[in-house]
């Protein structure tokens, strides 16, 4: 047996789990309930200005990328629990996460 390189998968999983726990519910509360109910209005200019600012970009990226990685890693482990192991599942989970992360990064760079 040898020391594993799993930390490279696990550290962003754990970080993403914490970020998802802290921020994802309130984001869904806004986009899923408050905006549809008309309680708040997500004004294009305000959001775009936030996404223009480097710190705004970083926050938005963290709020998407880290929970996405968290989800991919956990789904892969759960698939294994259900008897679905193997490279296909691994590629599907992490591949989807990378797609989400790269799309988010590309969009933020373009904004």
């Amino acid at each position: 047996m040898a020391k594993s390189n799993k930390p490279i998968l696990w550290l962003p999983f754990a970080g993403g789990g914490l970020v998802a726990a802290l921020i994802t519910p309130v984001l869904i509360l806004i986009t899923g309930i408050l905006v549809p109910l008309g309680v708040i209005h997500l004004n294009y200019e305000t959001i775009a200005a936030f996404a223009h600012h480097p710190i705004g970009k970083l926050i938005l990226f963290g709020a998407v990328a880290l929970p996405a990685w968290h989800a991919a890693h956990r789904l892969r482990m759960t698939a294994h629990d259900l008897g679905l192991g193997g490279g296909g599942v691994k590629a599907a989970c992490y591949g989807t996460a990378w797609l989400v992360i790269l799309v988010a990064a590309g969009a933020l760079i373009a904004t």
């Binding site: 789990g17 914490l18 726990a21 802290l22 994802t24 996404a51 008897g83």
Partner: protein, 128 residues
């Protein structure tokens, strides 16, 4: 005497055989909804980059009845994730102060305070 150990194989539906495994599976399943919502957010960022009209279309899409139903589901699972995640923090990160362990409830409580604070800041930034 002959030794002939009998090996029992774990069944595929092992997680249905005890309530605590079912609870574990639900906890793990939260990640599916967290992941799907992240994908929604990523699409939102693309629409934002595409300009005013695209953004308004995105807002209309996620405010539509199917969008809202989907997000309600996501919210339930996301909150379940938060609650289960915070509940396990004292195990992963126990604190010792002056040679005595800090009570787990305090560590969990601190996470709830942080959760409330982050939520309040985000809500204010969003214009509540």
């Amino acid at each position: 005497m002959s030794r002939r150990p009998y090996v029992r194989k774990i069944e595929r539906n092992w997680w249905l055989q005890h309530p605590r495994y079912v609870a574990y599976m639900i906890r793990e399943l939260t990640s599916l909804f967290v992941g799907l919502y992240c994908a929604l957010l990523a699409i939102g960022l693309v629409r934002l980059a595409q300009g005013h009209a695209a953004w308004d279309g995105f807002v209309a899409a996620f405010s539509s009845p199917p969008g809202v139903v989907f997000q309600w589901l996501c919210l339930v699972f996301a909150i379940y994730h938060s609650v289960t995640w915070f509940a396990l923090t004292p195990k992963a990160m126990p604190l010792m102060v002056k040679g005595e362990p800090v009570p787990g409830k305090l560590i969990v409580g601190a996470h709830y305070v942080a959760w409330a604070a982050v939520s309040a800041v985000v809500l204010m930034a969003a214009g509540v």
